[in-house]
Symmetry: C2
Amino acid sequence: MTLFDPPATSARIKLVVAYDGSDFHGFARQRDQRTIAGDLTAAIERVLRHDVDITCAGRTDAGVHAWGQVVSFDAPTTVDLVRLQSSLNSMLNPAIVVRSAEIAAAGFDARHDAQWRAYRYSIVNRAVADPFRARSAWWVEHPLDLHRLRLAADVFVGEHDFASFCRRGPEGSTTVRTVLESRWVDEGDGCLRYEIRAHAFCWQMVRSIVGTLVEAGLGRRKPGELTSTLAARDRARAGQVAPAHGLCLWEVGY
Amino acid sequence: MTLFDPPATSARIKLVVAYDGSDFHGFARQRDQRTIAGDLTAAIERVLRHDVDITCAGRTDAGVHAWGQVVSFDAPTTVDLVRLQSSLNSMLNPAIVVRSAEIAAAGFDARHDAQWRAYRYSIVNRAVADPFRARSAWWVEHPLDLHRLRLAADVFVGEHDFASFCRRGPEGSTTVRTVLESRWVDEGDGCLRYEIRAHAFCWQMVRSIVGTLVEAGLGRRKPGELTSTLAARDRARAGQVAPAHGLCLWEVGY
């Protein structure tokens, strides 16, 4: 629920939005910067001809992509959803696509009602980079050991304090999170994909986990060592944060 | 062979180069425009510390991509190929990647020695576009009939005068070409790929063929009608030229 209930004549709209975040300064609106929320809000307001305040399931950072970002906002009950979707898609840059538009339950909130978020992180693990994946996958030149990556990924499943893998949030906020899934998928031809699903994530948690997993996969850390890295609750113990462009908000569950 | 034989101390180098052509004004060098040849030549000259004159297998237009473009030029016989490749790749924008570097036979010419060129054209055929394919595939919204596409594609195999499917070249130049393969591959999930292989192509021939095939696939032309379109040798009879960004120079055979 937002602070102000929508007027009785409003419908709560739920959009599923995909975007190539390469050329945007993240999701959240910023003055003088091109953002996903900025472009999306401007397009919605142009179609509806009134101001809207959009809420999203996960505020992605600059360069991070989404396949299943969820956005909610209010529109008149008379809104034609098919036309809304096609108008938005013809107005938006091809880097942003509204995959679906539907009427949600009254009071639906894309952020607070989310039960889980699933992210995917793509890696091209070949001696030579792939120019067609340069915007959407991290190129790791040296060979990764998939068995080690998988052993290391198992460490994160369950409820843990992820302080070692989070940039600090507001003072006093918890860094305890429950990870439901953490696994590597071998796509073949040197393409690896890390999938992680949790109720919620701390800031830069996925990229910090991936950076540390890759160090284990390169043989620079023992997979078993990650248990103590997690237990240490110390940011300095984790690996480098993996680059933003490999990350994609894949799906949100309600 | 180039006009001037390389000096005895030179080796003919063959590079296989992949590039995402989205942000370039085509392959060929142009004053004040960013081109693949421009970036590549500058990088090679910086590594070798002397001027080079590069030759390519196929001059791709603005926005067209390559996976297997072949480039030849001369370098000192002392050149370290592994270092040349890694230096070029660390210097070049991630949109251009040198996939391999080798010493070719004396007099090897990437353009004149090519026996065949293979192109691929990618289409996303879904009601809603895919932002991650926006730079590398043509989004066709209305459903394409794969059976019709395949019937139509068969028409082009063999030696034909492709005047209906070519922008005119220099006066008196022939538009007769031999197509070795012309077929559609269903990649699943609405992704279709057209593959065409020929000794050589006329200017915009592949995009013109794809544009016409898509009209057949949408039911706007009968597949059988393409035989007379080809026989007419009249540019006005073909369909629209398909957008550049779906096209990729896939492989060159020697």
